[in-house]
């Protein structure tokens, strides 16, 4: 049994312990212990019934823990040693766990960490490595998050919007440590869609698949970013694109548009163009109009201005850009790009250099620095 199959069992096992009467936080701790042991012993000695093994080991851990606590307080053991009679229930609490882990009271980083551990079945160590913090810090972050949602009942629907935001944050983290977080986010969104068949869940899954399809072409082997227009389109994963488009079409047909569907529609139009100059920018601008209507965020305004620049020429794009707050990330990068296309190389080079100084990631800073250098070279020649 490989690790990802093992991970898939985790939320259900937590659900069983909660059903047997454990509180969420203790159940989750016990299952994490069982998971770490499984990762350690299963390669040598795989169980016949993996889920049964996890339930047994986790339940024993939970009882040990509960007994330890009650005896410390000098009271009777409150929890029955034997699990309730009858078969393990068929109901699945996994959806409830998604809601719990993305509870609106949690900070984004806590919700991400909790989701990866509880629903994703990752170990604390794996999450800590992926987010480049010490394991002790990540353990504390998760345990605080659990404490703060421990009283939340699992039998009521939560906020799907926050769940989607958390999954998209995980997806955006990409690949770090030994876990492919983008692939993990796709797996979790796929699983969510199977339990909550909503157009926006489908929209997010489609968006992720369409982005993921271009991953191999987005960076060179040395880590350099490759802009969309320069990507080798033969390296785009056509299977993922086809799946993303099909899922999107199904969602759009239900006529309940949301921001993820609109973003996926834009990604689909990019994926649909065999060459950069065949991109249907007019339709992309229309989708940005929809997106603005849905969200009115400065980032969307910025992206829309760039699309207008492609559809109607750089001057039109710059006119749109004028209404975008200059402190929005990438505002200067967009201005640099549009000014270069408008022929003002001096200003473009200067803006690229400023954009590089304002960049928030290392690959982006290096990319923008190279762009500034490229435009300055054009100026000299």
């Amino acid at each position: 049994m490989n690790e990802s199959l093992l991970r898939e069992l985790i939320p259900a096992v937590i659900g069983v312990l909660v059903w047997r009467g454990a509180d969420f936080a203790s159940a989750e701790d016990a299952v994490q212990d069982a998971l770490v042991r499984a990762l350690d012993t299963w390669p040598e000695d795989p169980p016949r019934d993996p889920k049964g093994w996890l339930v047994t080991v986790a339940w024993r851990k939970f009882l040990d823990q509960a007994r330890g606590e009650t005896s410390r307080r000098g009271r009777e053991v409150a929890v029955a040693v034997e699990p309730p009679a009858g078969p393990v229930p068929d109901t699945d609490d996994t959806l409830a766990l998604y809601f719990l882990c993305a509870h609106p009271t949690l900070s984004a980083s806590s919700a991400v960490a909790l989701t990866l551990r509880v629903v994703g079945g990752l170990t604390t160590r794996q999450i800590a490595t992926a987010y480049l913090v010490p394991e002790a810090t990540m353990a504390q972050r998760i345990s605080r998050a659990k404490r703060s949602v421990n009283g939340v009942p699992l039998d009521r629907p939560g906020d799907l919007g926050t769940v989607l935001r958390v999954l998209y944050l995980v997806f955006n983290e990409g690949y770090s440590g030994d876990v492919d977080l983008a692939a993990e986010a796709i797996r979790l969104t796929r699983q969510l869609l199977s339990m909550a068949d909503e157009p926006e869940v489908a929209g997010l899954l489609s968006l992720m698949l369409l982005h993921h399809a271009r991953r191999a072409s987005r960076t060179r082997t040395d880590g350099q970013l490759v802009p969309l227009a320069e990507q080798d389109r033969s390296r785009w994963d056509s299977t993922l694109i086809a799946e993303g488009v099909t899922i999107l079409q199904g969602a759009l047909a239900r006529d309940r548009l949301g921001e993820y569907q609109a973003q996926a529609a834009i990604a689909a139009l990019h994926a649909d163009a065999r060459a950069a100059d065949e991109t249907d920018w007019v339709q992309i601008v229309e989708w940005y109009d929809e997106l603005l209507r849905l969200t009115d965020s400065p980032v969307v305004r910025l992206n829309r201005a760039v699309a207008v620049g492609e559809a109607d020429g750089p001057q039109a794009g710059l006119a749109e850009l004028a209404s975008v707050d200059p402190t929005v990330p990438r505002q200067r990068a967009a201005a640099a790009y549009l000014h270069e296309r408008a022929g003002d190389l001096d200003l473009s080079a200067q803006l690229y250099a400023e954009a590089a100084r304002a960049a928030t990631s290392l690959p982006e800073r290096d990319h923008l620095t190279r762009q500034a250098a490229r435009v300055r070279e054009l100026l000299r020649s």
Binding site: S109, A136, R144, L362
Partner: protein
């Protein structure tokens, strides 16, 4: 988001409250200062915001290459460089505001007579290793 809180021995804006170097404090004042710093780091560990903390010795040497096949050239140590870094703490927090709030707390570590130092700390955001989608 990760931030570096950088502590300078020298450099930075004019001190709000001038104070004597630590070796001229009383042992109790030094203990109180160190306890405050340790407690601060411990508290950040408990909130899940601590990443790393390191202190540096003040003396350093400048090193540069001197061409292939030749040993590196060293210069210094210099007793009086303009800026001198004492150490740092790295935090992983939800926002810039939280980073500023924490730096403010760290800056209030007690000094002589147990008074808060109000020393200047430099807060610098890390560049992330990944770029979010731009398209």
């Amino acid at each position: 988001m990760k931030y570096l809180m950088l502590k300078h021995y020298r450099g930075g804006p004019t001190p709000a409250v001038p104070f004597a170097p630590m070796d001229q404090w009383t042992p109790e004042e030094i203990d109180a200062h160190i306890t405050y710093m340790n407690d601060f780091a411990k508290r950040l560990q408990e909130t899940g915001e601590f990443v790393d903390s390191q202190a540096l010795k003040p003396e350093g040497t400048f090193v540069r290459s001197d061409g292939q096949g030749r040993p590196p050239v060293t210069d210094g140590p210099f007793a009086e460089t303009k800026d001198l870094i004492a150490g740092w703490m790295i935090i992983d927090v939800e926002s810039w505001d939280r980073a500023v709030e924490l730096a403010g707390e760290l800056s209030a570590a007690p000094g002589p007579r147990g008074e808060p130092l109000h020393e200047w700390l430099e807060v610098r955001p890390f560049l992330t290793a990944h770029s979010k989608f731009t398209e």
